[in-house]
Amino acid sequence: MGDSHASRLFRTAEGAAYWAVVAPALARLPAIAGYRIACWRGDWLCRRHVAERTELARNLRQVFGAELSPESVQDVTQEWFRLSSCEAVDVKRLRRGARPLQRLVEIRGREHLEAALAAGKGAILCSAHFGSFDSAFSMLNACGFPVTTIGRWQHKYTASLSTAERRFWALVYAKPLQRLRHRPNIEPWPGRFDVATRAAAALRANEVVTVSIDAPPLDSDLARTVEVPFLGRRARLLPGIVTLAQLTGAPVLVGFLYRSADYCHQVLEISPPLPAGDEPASAFGRCAAEVSAAITRNPAHWRYWASTADLATLGLVLPEPDRSAAAASSVVAMN
């Protein structure tokens, strides 16, 4: 008990120091040096956080099975910790209108988003908790696309965080991201019934609404989930994005931010609009397939590997009986 308490305290203090002091400093260094140091920190976390590393590797093996060799599992695990550390540098490079980050990100498919907005019905950008997705949305707004995100700030919902920790993450994580969004995040907390109408209002104003469709559903939303093929299994996901598109006439595009092998440069790939007029089930299946394919190509980019509780809620792995969901569901940025 004492050990785990001390260990949690150390981990919290290290994470806070990294996000509040180290990452802002790294974001001011030449990119190659800043991201290199972030990777060193990721390697250190990977060695030190044995339980998280073990959980992550076990989840990768459960989902991918023989598709990933033991060496690949090890590589993906280490890469996952590196990308978590690099994400903090991305967020801190959002200063000065995100120009420091923009210099490192190539946007491919920008013309698809421009064409979608030219039609005047807004655009829905379907994405996932993949890479520095939050930074990508803010950077896109800084590039001139009015972006509003449907999504919960996870620090508000992670049960194990204290009030002080919530305030801290709001300050170092949410604030720099939110500053570069067109409207405040539309947060689908339980019982909130105006999420879709607020998203529709943004689309009617010809804006871009981003949605990460891979979020584990809340208990209150389980009845509305559909099962779709995902990572070679069947996942329970919320298909609301398709209904939103059909009711507003907005096209759905898919976008992911991939980090290059040098860790500095990234590519934001935006697809052409998905075919309109499909049946809702097949249209959503197409979105889920795009997300699944992106994760399969770059498994280390996916946020949820370290949370068995979240993966179990999605229906991808078996739940751990000895851990409460609230304690285990704490992936967040808090690494």
Partner: protein
């Protein structure tokens, strides 16, 4: 107006046949008939059918609690609608 709205909700939004026939004062939120997406569907219908625009400030649970409150809300919009057309 009540009949039009009741029919639309009954036919398009009620998924549990046990809730039919729908009384005008049935709570649409507590009975689970209205969630975020079905509210949007209803708002789109009201805007098209009654020629109004439902603003963000009007998206209050009390305006959409039942068929009766929806009609009451729409009646408060009538003078604005007439003023806009007049």
């Amino acid at each position: 107006m009540e009949t039009v709205i009741n029919e639309y909700i009954s036919q398009e939004l009620v998924r549990d046949p046990g809730l039919l026939p729908l009384a005008d004062d049935t709570s649409l939120l507590e009975s689970g008939i209205l969630d975020s997406l079905s509210l949007l569907q209803l708002v789109v219908f009201l805007e098209e059918r009654f020629g109004i625009t439902v603003g963000d400030q009007d998206l209050l649970p009390e305006n959409f609690a039942s068929v009766t409150t929806i009609c009451a809300y729409l009646r408060t919009r009538e003078p604005q609608k007439q003023a806009a057309h007049g």
